[in-house]
Symmetry: C2
């Protein structure tokens, strides 16, 4: 099957510097962070406003791609599950999905609340959370 | 910035054969469809059950990647918006996010309800919808 090339459009800038420091999910103490966009992607941000709820898609570049079964939450005492039933970063295409809320915008940087991704994580896409209003806009 | 290689793990098999036939969003008449996985990805499906609610990530291989502004819902009478505030398929990394519900599983094929992607669309990832239960599992 054909492969496709992901070209990151920016990077996460966060005080979370290591995987050990990162919470497993955003509701487990994730901080605010900046999304820093490449100059050539900035035009795509122009309709984003503080208060917007967005889905951020990242490429989890520290993840393993050869994993199809994982122990839930890394607990080896628990029976392994297929990765597609988990949010494990380790999976064939290690895309991260993050629900975030915009708190500020400064040129090509967007500040968001509740992001568990670590500093330097490549940004792949950004979409509005799909409400009936957005879906039909 | 480094680029990354997406390796599709399967394809959509659907009666929606053309872009013109596809609804813009799943709640606008999307049919049931099969997700047909590559043999080497099937192990990752083993914990999926009928009734599961999943986020399917696809690669929208017919989309344009050089678009940063779009007219909402393709209506040129409406002012253009930045693509990252829309669900337009045309964007730098044309990933599709689809909320689907599993209705059946047969080996390496998963039947889902409410998928607006057209036949042949490459499948990139599959994740559980993030409920508090899943997040902390």
């Amino acid at each position: 099957m054909s492969t496709f090339e992901i070209r990151p459009i920016g990077k996460v800038s966060s005080n979370l510097k290591t995987l050990d420091a990162a919470p497993r999910q955003a509701d487990e103490g994730a901080p605010e962070a900046w999304l820093v966009f490449e100059p050539e992607a900035v035009e795509g941000l122009r309709s984003i406003r503080p208060g917007d709820e967005l889905v951020l898609i990242t490429w989890l570049d520290r993840a393993r791609r050869d994993v199809l079964s994982v122990h839930p939450r890394g607990d080896v005492a628990r029976a392994p599950e297929g990765v597609f039933s988990t949010r494990s970063p380790h999976r064939p295409n290690p895309l991260g999905l993050h629900d975030v809320k915009v708190t500020a915008i400064e040129g090509g940087r967007v500040r968001v609340r509740g992001l568990e991704a670590i500093d330097g994580t490549p940004i792949v896409d950004l979409k509005p959370v799909l409400s009936p209003d957005i879906a039909h806009r």
